[in-house]
């Protein structure tokens, strides 16, 4: 088993909590993990990404090569496209459809949607709306996105849920339940 994942978004959106949950589940499975993160200046509203690699064999590089990623998981549609050169020809894009506009020259949404629609293996979801429908706060949108990516991860949904339970244990049952509801909402609306 070997999955190379690029997590993308804008600084402050919370891509690292997705990585934390996948990492927790992968650790419990006894898998090898490498996860390169972005800290420092770019975190201030700039584009951020994390290279997450999980495998049953030892992993050499902390970085994923160009053309090597199995999945791009993005909390922002333009940020999903930023890492296209890293995606394998048969790789998947799982992204939020909600733009984060903090620059003047953000591309036209119609064009952006058209570019995403050109990709065969894609899941584009309004993760914030799905979080609300699931009775979870907007901060749980990243768990919706993670749920939508679960079918491509080769880690069972139950294992990811167990990871969420362990990570959110300190925050109480209610918050844990809402995050799991958000995860399932994403999973149910995924399509692989």
């Amino acid at each position: 088993m070997k999955k190379d994942i690029i997590l993308a978004g804008v600084g402050g959106q919370g891509i690292l909590s997705i990585a934390t949950v996948i990492g927790e589940a992968a650790m419990a499975e006894g898998l090898y993990i490498k996860q390169a993160e972005v800290h420092g200046m770019s975190q201030r509203g700039g584009d951020v990404q994390s290279n997450l690699r999980i495998a049953s064999q030892p992993i050499a590089s902390d970085l994923i090569p160009l053309g090597g990623a199995d999945i791009i998981i993005s909390l922002e549609p333009m940020e999903a496209l930023r890492y296209l050169p890293y995606l394998k020809p048969e790789g998947w894009i799982v992204t939020s459809s909600v733009p984060f506009v903090n620059i003047d020259n953000y591309p036209d949404m119609t064009d952006l949607t058209a570019h995403l629609d050109r990709l065969a293996n894609r899941v584009v979801l309004d993760v914030e709306a799905l979080a609300r429908e699931a009775g979870a706060p907007a901060q749980a949108a990243n768990m919706v996105l993670l749920g939508a990516a679960v079918p491509m991860l080769d880690i069972e949904l139950e294992k990811i849920e167990a990871g969420i339970c362990r990570i959110f244990a300190r925050k109480g049952e209610e918050i844990t339940a809402k995050n799991i509801a958000a995860l399932r909402a994403g999973y149910d609306n995924s399509k692989k």
């Binding site: 650790m27 490498k34 201030r44 584009d47 590089s61 970085l63 020809p89 620059i103």
Partner: protein, 536 residues
Amino acid sequence: MKRLLLGDEAIAQGAIDAGLSGVYAYPGTPSTEITEFIQLHESRRVADAEPIFCRWCVNEKTAMEGALGMSYMGKRAMVCMKHVGLNVAADAFVNSAMTGVNGGLVVVAADDPSMHSSQNEQDSRFYGKFAMMPVMEPSSQQEAYEMIGEAFALSEECRLPVLMRVTTRMAHSRAVVETTSSPRRQNAMKAPDDVRSWILLPAFARRRYATLIEEQSELLRRSESSQHNSYKRGEDPSRGIVACGIAYNYLMENCPDGCRYSVLKISQYPLPEALMERMFADGAREIVVMEEGQPVVEEMMRGMVPDGVAVKGRLTGELPRMGELTPDSVRAALGMEPLERREADDLVVPRPPALCVGCGHRDMYKALNEVAAEYDNARIFGDIGCYTLGALSPFHAIHACVEMGASVTMAKGAADAGQWPSIAVIGDSTFTHSGITGLLDCVNSRSNVVIVISDNLTTGMTGGQDSAGTGRLEDICEGVGVDPAHVRVVVPLPKNMDQIKEVLREEFDYNGVSVVIPRRECIQTLKRHAKQQKKQ
């Protein structure tokens, strides 16, 4: 125990498990998380456990000296900093090799090739060689964890500080690390037997330098027998790959079934000459040096190879001259075809970082820009921190940014040259790091400058660490000799805009040293504090 740790955290845990008594540091990406991890560990310390000193220092020089003092007393100390911090600490760092150590002393320098969060990509290994210290450069988080303990042991055995050099991808990447269940106890306090080696008077220093030179052959022997340096003959030994630090990972990424060329993995310096000799003896005619950062080893190897052997790498174009290595650049250097990949999408535009919405620096820059526009030729010298982002849209406010504290002294130099108004913008933490001495220069020269200390009560850019002068900035400025009438405090909020601008105008027009302190808590730490309060 198996834990998922950042490279920085693996270093911290390795030091704790090696009997660390004190960590001395100033925050700087990508090194900050080492000290933060130890602080977290210390905050959860059980009553009977030995304490570890872990309070932030004012700058890297005071950190290096504090650690040297702890080492003097026989305890194990670690100093952590980003690469440019080593410039600040350089005097103490280089001379710590002259004094040598008593308790183990490890200096961790985290380099930032590709300048993700830095102003240059200087390579700390040069400093190690310059100071004639052993240097360690781990290739994995696990190796980093284990190496720290070995570095302390090496430091105590050779009586020298050890430099551990990491780069961004090691510092900020997580991996599963197996940690020990039986940590070492801290050293007991014990002053040095002979103080002469610690007194660098020329007569004593000459003896110490001779000892340091003598010690080099022992450092070489240890490097050559280190388990972290290894040589493997390839099926095609005419080519030799020298892979330093994490470059080894990129090599292995491209050769999952083993490299067909001879491979020399280097994670400890001085360069293991005996291993290199074996590579030459096996028939290597071309050496490709893969190293993160500057071509330190490549340059050295040029002087070490036999006649007719070519040395290639960053200097010859096999690898890019600047920027961090990637699996792709290493793949190309191996002569392998790139993986199939898609074109970049032409809709995607850059998204540069920006000051947070609601940040006090924003209000400060708005006022400063508007007042500066009322003068013909205002010059604003910036400094290192979040507020350096004032150089970008929408403010385009600063006209220079060089290194920690330079805003104050460059504004002074410009004023000396006849510039008016000459303005410095510096953060509170950067001011205490390296701005106070410059301010004293201004006072002594009666320079016509306005020093804006944008005080957000924290070290913001690195994530909100304690700032050394919080609550005492006015006292510090007045103590240095600034006229109290020209130490002005304002609250940077949109509703105070007129008042802030008036204060700035008055101080622009005052012929002398002015300090204006716009003070409002960092929006990020404010949120964090509100959350903590809610919990309690």
